[in-house]
Amino acid sequence: MKHVAGKPKILPITGAGAMAQAMRQINPDVVAAFPITPSTQIVEDFSQFVADGKVDTEFVTVESEHSAMSACIGASAAGGRVMTATSSAGMAYMWELLYVAASMRQPVLMSLVNRALTGPINIHCDHSDSMGARDSGWLQIYSENNQEAYDNLVMAARIAEHDDVRLPIMICQDGFIISHSIQTMQIEDDAAVKAFVGAHKPYHPILDTKNPVTWGALDLQDYYIEHKRGQEQGMKNALRVIEEVSVDFAKKFGRKYNLFETYRIEDAEIVMVAIGSAAGEIKEVIDELRTKGEKVGLLKIRSFRPFPYAQIAKALSHAQIITVLDRSASFGAHGPLFVEITTSVYNYCDNRPLLLSHTYGLGGRELSMQMIEHVFAESRICLDKGEVNGRQGMWLNVRGD
């Protein structure tokens, strides 16, 4: 079937392939990237677009991720719209520069394919890479499936480059589960995406040689904290901007997003909170349990940074037990999502539900529907007893527990 200009295309495509398509449509000034599993296809497809003349991008084939992020920061400060893609150890190697990009307020757009951090060495999905970077000052948006990952990347530039935000953004998708799975999804028309994304507005760019500026200067006791305070304000403003851009996206393309998604939580006694691809299976299990009369629901995180504390607290203000699934571990502490949810509920509303923390899926360990059902059943037991003792902080689907 021939594609009609101006109409969206329905395509079977992998999550990584969809990201490369979004990058082609965004047509950034500069891409600097170093391929790493499972984000490789993004860079591979995009380099093909460069070779075929489908984009005008200056593609910098750097020798490492440290250099990739350095090149991105430099190109962004020079005045360009800049993108990159990476995973796991690749992003870990960018670490120092992640903070530089954020503190220099360079709105670099990253497509992150979540993968476990070594060791032992593992290439499969968990959220330890992005969760470790949650304090770096990057906006973090998570996606449940290929369509969401694509849509989020299309929205990324408008959010990150907004005058009131000016912060780098990572659009996260689950390694292999999304990145390598072919799903049928809608790729919007090139011109429509281009119009939605709009032109890049540089901020005091280095290449404006008539107005010379210095980026990245030493900043000591007299100003460092003021600059950091400004950075925090960008994050605070981003909550509003993410909502605004999502509303505009829905008007244009019809798919509605918000800071988080709720599924059947209005009258739910048990609410599960999760991030990423797990949400799909959880929704299935909820539908199943609902037919048996169990009042269960889901809150799926979209924006983890900034974290919408007040909005989430409101959404959870009727839950009696909240079961949080963390796909990364903070050794010696509860998982990062559990900590945020607890902060949210106990500081931003009067509801005092039980809170149950679970760690799952490290290194790609499967989360089956049975396992989700089991967690709901455990939550029910806790709720009936009125306490979570003995069940708090369990690791799911681990032999020996």
């Binding site: 503190s103 307020r105 980026w215 100003y223 600059h227």
Partner: protein, 114 residues
């Protein structure tokens, strides 16, 4: 406006984003002279005006003035050290060829009592 007024500490709301510096060359306003524990002093009577000190100084703290050379052509001459910027690293003192000969000093290096 003096430097103190020019650089009165601002609130975070009044700063350009990301610590960008919008004024070219304002490092010249930054006082590095307070870092000094030793300071170079010029002895012009021994100076052969080779300008090596000026070339080596990382702070551009060797002050030059215009003059006329023995050949009648215009050239620059070392006159002084700018102590607002000189951080006392001693590079000029070490690189001065007159000092290296070891007979007399064109640049002395003395304890600075700030």
């Amino acid at each position: 406006m003096n430097l103190k007024q020019k650089y009165a500490l601002k609130k975070w709301q009044d700063l350009p984003l990301g610590g960008v510096i919008l004024e070219a060359g304002n490092a010249a306003d930054y006082e590095t002279g307070t870092w000094r524990t030793w300071k170079p002093v010029t002895h012009r009577e021994n100076c052969i005006q080779c300008l090596a000190c000026w070339e080596y100084c990382p702070e551009d703290a060797i002050v030059l003035e215009n003059g006329t050379g023995p050949d009648g052509k215009p050239r620059k001459f070392v006159v002084d050290v700018n102590y607002y910027h000189c951080k006392g690293c001693g590079l000029c003192v070490r690189e001065c060829p007159v000092n290296k000969e070891g007979v007399v000093q064109a640049l002395g290096f003395v304890r600075d009592e700030v």
